[in-house]
Symmetry: none
Subunit: 226 residues, 4 copies
């Protein structure tokens, strides 16, 4: 199950190598999107990339690593596309939730088919669970937000609430992408998503005895982020 090497065999230093790697990754993404994981085999990828199968194995020690690299590249694309969005701790909670929702919708527009396959179909085959990684960042920020919004901070069960919010937003956006693309463009969709989150948060039960400002005991959220 757990083969050994997942990372790339060799860092391409020359321009030509970089071009080869790119061609391979693009071909891989193309095949995955067009024909699904069932048609995804290394020979096919190499051929589509216009590269010999030997060259493919020069840069990727095995099939799994190809998927991993593809995932990484996809995640990187997403991160880059989100880099211009600035969270700041002193914004209003509503504004922040709006940003989170907007983000989620935005990142689901980036190669959605590939995103779907990478997260659902081949999640076992060496794909980094980038969905988790990204959520973690946002979750972390949501925690920070809560820290600064004291009235929110005293929620009775912040972990559970976070869990529910993240999953709702993710699932709703993801399903919309898969089967209701028209929703993604509708401002109403976005507004309702925000309303769902805020409604849930605003009526959440408080715990007056809870004065501790939300440093989670064994915080799983920060473990993946710098």
């Amino acid at each position: 199950m757990a083969k050994t090497p997942i990372k790339q065999r060799k860092e391409p230093k020359q321009a030509r190598s970089k071009a080869t790697v790119n061609a391979i990754l693009e071909a891989a993404a193309h095949i995955l999107v067009k024909d699904g994981y069932g048609a995804f085999n290394t020979n096919h990828v190499a051929q589509k990339a216009g590269v010999s199968i030997g060259s493919l194995y020069q840069y990727f020690p095995n099939k799994e690593s190809l998927i991993a690299a593809l995932s990484l590249s996809h995640v990187t694309q997403i991160r880059d596309s989100l880099s211009d969005i600035e969270f700041s701790p002193d914004m209003k909670l509503e504004t922040f939730v709006q940003l989170v929702v907007k983000n989620h919708i935005k990142l689901h527009r980036i190669n959605p088919k590939l995103h779907h396959i990478l997260t659902k179909e081949v999640s076992a085959y060496g794909a980094l669970n980038h969905q988790q990684v990204l959520s973690d960042e946002i979750q972390e920020k949501l925690y920070w937000m809560m820290k600064y919004h004291t009235e929110t901070a005293k929620l009775k069960n912040p972990q559970l609430i976070l869990f529910m919010i993240m999953n709702s937003v993710e699932a709703i956006t993801h399903t919309a992408m898969s089967s209701k693309m028209e929703y993604l463009d509708s401002p109403l969709f976005e507004a309702e998503l925000v309303r769902l989150v805020l409604g849930f948060l605003s009526e959440a039960e408080r715990d007056p005895t809870n004065t501790e400002p939300f440093i989670p005991p064994e915080n799983p959220v920060t473990k993946n982020s710098k």
Copy 2:
């Protein structure tokens, strides 16, 4: 993609053959759950079932049909387990939502690992999209509820709201099952899920001009139910 025969090749008539089919299905489920779809191959299944490969193909014309049979059997189990739950149109909306949520949690307890693989990993390979089928039934009932609760009936965008509720409940329950099993037993979890739905519904925008009591235009919801 869509081969022809998905159903079983032959109905077992003698007791012996029934046992064989059962052994095969059990072995198939076991392998799927334990090792995932990657290790799921017909020879392996036959061997685990203590049955010759020929016998397997006597009852299942191909690999896909095995998955399909497994799905059907799983769905049947779920339906049977839900049969005792009675929806009635004149119950309170809150009660109804509680029932929906309880249902969802309950059905996610039935062989959750298999459920996960069947719905996510191999959904393409001939598995009935039973999640959808089940959801449809519940969605239909939610529609009926809305018909009788007039103040709810005047929601501005019932389709969208339904979409969001269904996806939230499903995703939250599903993810809890996959990675937060402890949530499933917690009454707080259930309560919060109900609160999420009710909060969202109660604050939903009304459309005063909308007097039509929710007969969906081209109702995709009823197409699967009697």
Copy 3:
């Protein structure tokens, strides 16, 4: 290649057995004609015959014997259909040739598709070479004819001439059956076939020194006929 038993395992003595054997043979013929030898397998035959596979093996020890029985049955049918044709040694040569040709055309009308498959496609698989058997009978009679027509008897190379005549008549009729069915009904076709044979015979070179009245040295012709 040459398995052991070709004949049937057991002679059906009771009426029911006979019916079973018939059903099997009919199903076999039907499948062979409709789908070719590629689709001809014992389970399929048994099913089509409405008989269990076990019963099939009660009467036919293996697949080959089925083909053999089919061949025999086909040959028998042909023989029966030819039984009314009477050769007599004192008829004119021309009349005799006309009879031979008529015969050949007639026997090629009996289940031609089966005939074709049995003689060409599966000739190796235990099918009696009934074509040869039948030809032999006719060849023998042609020999007898020659005995009584002294001027013909002195042919220089009767064996070769016989060979050529038999093959021409057979091939022309067989091909007509396969691809020019309309020829089989045309009287011109028959007439021309007769003319081909007679023309060839009448201009054949004589051997004045040959006074021996046609007892072939090592007569391969009589070995199969009593």
Copy 4:
């Protein structure tokens, strides 16, 4: 029945691969000739060729294509061997018929067992019907001959006569090859074959009203030739 790809999957570029393809084809021919189509399976062929099964499938997409390639190669051999024979319209009819007969005998000497299997046993499995193709060429030339030999041109039923001649020559030669190899070398055999054809042609019925010099109505003969 009619799958898609019959031709080779990949053209061998390097010397090594050409050798592989050759080894495979030779092994295939060898097995076919020695053990018949029943023993012809891809693993066996690969093994006999001293090549891995994977290599076989690198060059031949399926079993059928192997047969097809074998047929093509056989036909090519035959064509090459016949290329030195020149037909000319102004030769005597007798000379021409002698040439046709000589041709037929000659081409039946080229790997006769393979020829037999390819034309009879596996004709359905993707083998080009090269026998037909070749005959067509000769038939076309016979037609041309008739055009220039006016007294012959006025035959009452040239199509039928052609049909009979071609089938006689083919069948006699083919059967001689299968079971009377000694005939093939005898000059008498060839002479008698010529006499059969010429006798049949010379006594053919004329049609005085037929002045049209043999342009066949729907000429099936020319359809395969340029």
